[in-house]
């Protein structure tokens, strides 16, 4: 199954700045997800997005985070005012095309470094 493409591959930002991470999905998907992995820790669910609305979000996904699909294709994760602890790999994922099962197919990730 085709994967999703994420840009940029690496982003360095100063604490307090806004960042936007992008995901270019394949069309025909309805569900998209954002996950993150802080170095040395588990992969953690952030948010799922269905039909242009948030379907589910975790306790990590606070008011500093937002997701949207501004042009009907690209899927973005915005962090409004970055903190040092936001440094992590951020993964966009899409649903399976196979019988709409719960498998998620991940992009290659964006490494966010907050300094």
């Amino acid at each position: 199954e085709p994967e999703v493409t994420q840009t940029p591959s690496h982003q360095v930002t100063q604490m307090g700045q806004e960042v936007i991470l992008r995901c270019v999905p394949i069309s025909n998907h309805l569900y998209f997800y954002w996950y993150r992995q802080i170095l040395g820790q588990k992969v953690e669910f952030l948010v799922s997005f269905y039909n242009n609305e948030i379907s589910e979000k975790s306790e990590i996904f606070d008011d500093q985070f937002s997701v949207e699909r501004p042009d009907g294709s690209n899927f973005t994760l915005k962090i409004r005012s970055t903190k040092l602890e936001d440094s992590a790999m951020y993964f966009c994922a899409r649903e399976s095309l196979r019988f709409r099962l719960a498998e998620a197919f991940f992009g290659q990730g964006t490494r966010l470094t907050v300094v």
Binding site: Y31, Y33, Y35, Q41, S96, L101, A102, F105, F106, G109
Partner: protein
């Protein structure tokens, strides 16, 4: 959050032998279980999954076993190859279908020695 736990941070096996990766879970609501493989600087790659109504699923060299009563699953790789060296994550979902969050374990670093 310890709902999914992989107790072995690392495993080393010889090429051609069997690799067995283990995973335990605590949430009885989990209905679907998955294994992912991850190389450094890449996203997790889906390997194999199993529904809670089954106890075994096989795909080529990869077999996943589920013991619901023990809340335990394992991934068997036979025969192991050096290219299998990666971090393996188990994950669980409370739904079989799209839209449910995946809860991941900590991962196990598998090293297959030539």
């Amino acid at each position: 959050d310890q709902q999914v736990k992989q107790n072995s941070p690392s495993l080393s096996v010889q090429e051609g032998r069997i690799s067995i990766l283990n995973c335990d879970y605590t949430n009885s609501m989990f209905d679907y279980f998955l294994w992912y493989k991850k190389y450094p600087a890449e996203g997790p790659t889906f390997l194999i999954s199993i529904s809670s109504i089954k106890d075994k699923n096989e795909d080529g060299r990869f077999t996943v076993f589920l013991n619901k009563s023990a809340k335990h699953l394992s991934l068997h790789i036979v025969p192991s190859q050096p290219g299998d060296s990666a971090v393996y994550f188990c994950a669980a979902s409370i739904k079989l279908t799209s839209g449910s969050r995946l809860t991941f374990g900590e991962g196990t670093q598998l090293t297959v020695n030539p």
